[in-house]
Symmetry: C2
Subunit: 373 residues, 2 copies
């Protein structure tokens, strides 16, 4: 099945929209959140757990899979879906973000980026072409081009040169793709410079990419800048292609990005926070480690119907976490992901039912209130 994206409904008061992605492994209704499956596993979740909470698509990390177990192994075993037992769509990142995070261990050239493995120090070269090939071998439904996530802050000269290279790399990526059922998304960079973002988007959207992402956001620029630049970048992207805000973020960030017209999101926040005992609930964030929950018979979130909240008390969850039990990571992750997926389902329903604006306003207000508590 060839990749397609349809806007089902546009909100009349904001840029929010309800959409449908069709991929070789099924459909995704957007706006959608993608849990992060770094090592071919969304941490502490089995595929059936993800099914249960309504997960439609997961993100795989090309960098990690390339190093371990290696692309050949995954390909031999029938591709990433089969390898990890996940039958629904998978988006893979390009590995660029992880490679650039290696700092001194990597070196950028026009050709690509050379780096040393964080596992064994072995040397590797990722080029735009290689990154497309890897994602094809993994059997990704949606692949991302190799780009440079510009660190914050970055001076204009650096940001400009990097952004232009990202554009050239994107073009090479497009030429390298030869699997027709794998969508390829380009990534708009440009740092915190509106004119660079504009130029980057203009160049990229002239090319036949299946979707566009906003990259280099949520990297320390602060909440206001994230929102402003996120919204600005969304406005540069075509209506008829999916928009993906990479690596963002908190529920309030996602809500404001849905308002700005984004369709896809990923973030390690719900899974990582869960392992630290931090839970998203309808009454705000709580940390289950706190002594006040030691004999609290209530579920983590009284408005949640996930397996964790249906069956276990805060006291029990706290006890599991204090005792270092694996079940704590499992149950808390299940809840946090259920919270994120319910949030997305809720906003999709609001758009569908012509009540996106009150929903967005109420949700933002509720999240603000619970934060300031």
């Amino acid at each position: 099945m060839a990749f397609s994206f349809t806007v089902i409904k546009k909100d009349s008061t904001s840029r929010a929209r309800l959409g449908r992605l069709v991929t070789a492994h099924g459909e995704v209704e957007t706006p959608a959140f993608m849990p992060v499956g770094t090592h071919a596993s969304v941490k502490a979740m089995s595929p059936r757990d993800l099914d249960e909470i309504g997960c439609q698509i997961v993100l795989g990390n090309t960098y990690h899979l390339y190093l371990r177990p290696g692309v050949e192994v995954v390909r031999e075993l029938g591709g990433l879906h089969r390898f990890m037992g996940w039958r629904k769509p998978i988006l893979t990142d390009s590995g660029g973000y992880q490679v650039f995070s290696l700092g001194a261990l990597r070196k950028i050239s026009e050709d690509g980026v050379r780096f040393q493995s964080h596992l064994d120090g072995s040397g590797h070269l990722l080029t735009p072409e290689k990154v497309v090939e890897i994602q094809q071998d993994l059997g990704s439904d949606i692949a991302m081009v190799l780009d440079e996530c510009i660190p914050h802050p970055a001076d204009r000269e650096y940001a400009s040169a990097s952004t232009l290279r990202t554009v050239r790399w994107a073009e090479r990526s497009l030429n390298a793709r030869n699997k027709t059922d794998m969508a390829l998304f380009a990534i708009v960079q440009g740092g915190m410079y509106e004119d660079l973002r504009t130029e980057c988007a203009r160049e990229l959207t002239a090319l036949p990419f299946d979707g566009f992402a906003a990259g280099g956001l949520g990297v320390g620029e602060g909440e206001a800048a994230l929102r402003a630049m996120g919204e600005f970048t969304a406005g540069l992207l075509p209506e008829d292609r999916p928009r993906y805000l990479m690596g963002v973020g908190r529920p309030e960030d996602i809500i404001s990005a849905v308002r700005a017209g984004y369709d896809l999101f990923d973030c390690v926040l719900p899974t990582r926070n869960a392992r630290n005992g931090s839970l998203f609930t309808s009454a705000g964030k709580i940390n289950i480690r706190r002594a006040e929950y030691a004999s609290d018979a209530r579920p983590a979130d009284e408005s949640c119907d996930c397996y964790c909240c249906r069956n276990f008390s805060r006291a029990y969850l706290r006890h599991l976490h204090q005792s270092g039990e694996i079940l704590a990571a499992h149950l808390l992750t299940l809840h946090n992901l259920a919270f994120y997926h319910r949030l997305m389902e809720s906003v999709r329903n609001a758009i569908r039912e012509d009540r996106a604006e009150p929903w967005l306003r109420d949700s933002e207000l509720k999240l603000q209130q619970s934060e300031s508590r």
Copy 2:
């Protein structure tokens, strides 16, 4: 519902029997294996995972629960079943085994055993009465008396004095029980001395206990001594009461103990081994960390129908384990417990269908062959 035990069928060629325990939280068909839920959680398993693999009863550790979260918390929250979300029967140990393992941190007297918490060094006294009270507060279906697990080797004088004290403690335990729906099992000690075992069993079986356990086995005495003393002790126990071989063990140990007439088993082996990558399979033990499995597309056990074996390859399981993913512990534990429970179901069916002897012989042979491979 008062506790009861019925022998449904006796094997004609061995002491193996099919039985039924009735408890306040439902029935258990024996021979049965009890996964160990140390901190009110069978490691890496949720209650529904345990349900799925046919688990009928779990073991809770009084010592650990007493220290954390504390008995008051569990009682306030409705007892251990409700606390951990497990609706089926629970057997709790006395905490004695853990306390005696503390070595220099504990001191035995006629009254009981004083010890310092391994968590915070706080001082505690466990008496036979206190241990019954704790288990009543936990809401255990089957409680164990406080006993001393005699270390191996032990000289006759020590073993004799300890065994006699275990008998006196058992009598005090029986007098301390005031919940009629909680079964209380005594524990036959006596070290490696047949006459002490005989004397201990004679004294204990004269008292109205609901069941009897063989303790102090699998503590380093070696396989032959374990089997001989296990079989000898089983022969001292009444036909009409359940027999529980504590802390044992490997599949082959359990099979030989079923042959000797035991009904209940517990061991950390399937769960602990799983976390170390060691799997029980119908073709023998394998360690998933081995390089030979790096691209092995077969399931962990080709004869297993558990969720892990239905969905994931050895290559994937190895990758998860190598990557330190929580999902590895989850899937491998699920498989090992499924293996143990299928073994028990299989022996129950063999007894039911008058083919216990060939089943026991074949199973022993198969396990020997796979070990020597």
